[in-house]
């Protein structure tokens, strides 16, 4: 089924198209990251992900030492619709170096 035409990257969204049904990494605004299986997307980068892990990174300043304390909080969601306007970057994680 997959012809040469369907498997080449001619425009950026092809990279997303080729990631359908794959686990992807999504970097979002406000220091959020998602990993999940891509079930649907549109040209705005609205997406539906499955088996999603969200990581939120927060930086606090210690009151006394003024040291930065980096905290990550994690949660999992079975199915998540993600609004595209918050998306910064999408990467197929398996090919992540």
């Amino acid at each position: 089924m997959a012809t040469e035409e369907e498997s080449t990257v001619r425009e950026p969204l092809d990279l997303i198209r080729l990631s359908l049904d794959e686990r992807i990494y999504v970097k979002l605004r406000s220091d959020r990251e998602l990993r999940g299986k891509l079930h649907a997307y549109d040209q705005h980068l609205n997406m539906i992900l499955g088996d999603v892990e969200e990581v939120i990174t927060t930086v606090e300043i210690d009151d006394e030492t003024y040291e930065e304390i980096v905290r990550t909080t994690r949660r999992t969601v079975p199915f998540l619709f993600v609004r595209g306007d918050g998306v910064i970057l999408v990467s197929p994680p398996l090919r992540t170096a």
Binding site: V9, R10, E11, P12, L13, D14, L15, I16, Y25, L45, G84, D85, V87, I88, L89, V90, S91, P92, R95, T96, A97
Partner: protein, 90 residues
Amino acid sequence: MSGGSGGGGAVKTPADFLKSIRGRPVVVKLNSGVDYRGILACLDGYMNIAMEQTEEYVNGQLKNKYGDAFIRGNNVLYISTSKRTLAEGA
């Protein structure tokens, strides 16, 4: 008058520039200040970008590497060609 040959000659318009840099090593700076260095695979009219061998730099420090990366165009501040030579084996 001459059409956008875009190869290596004089670049005339932003569109010519964008056409001419496919396959080249670039630095993409986002509004957040984060830099992405890698090979520009392609881009579209929204400045959505596909990159290969991408390195993410936050405050000049390497934070992440991505084999392939799609960057949503609204986050892009600029795209700059870079002279950096990447490791062989692309």
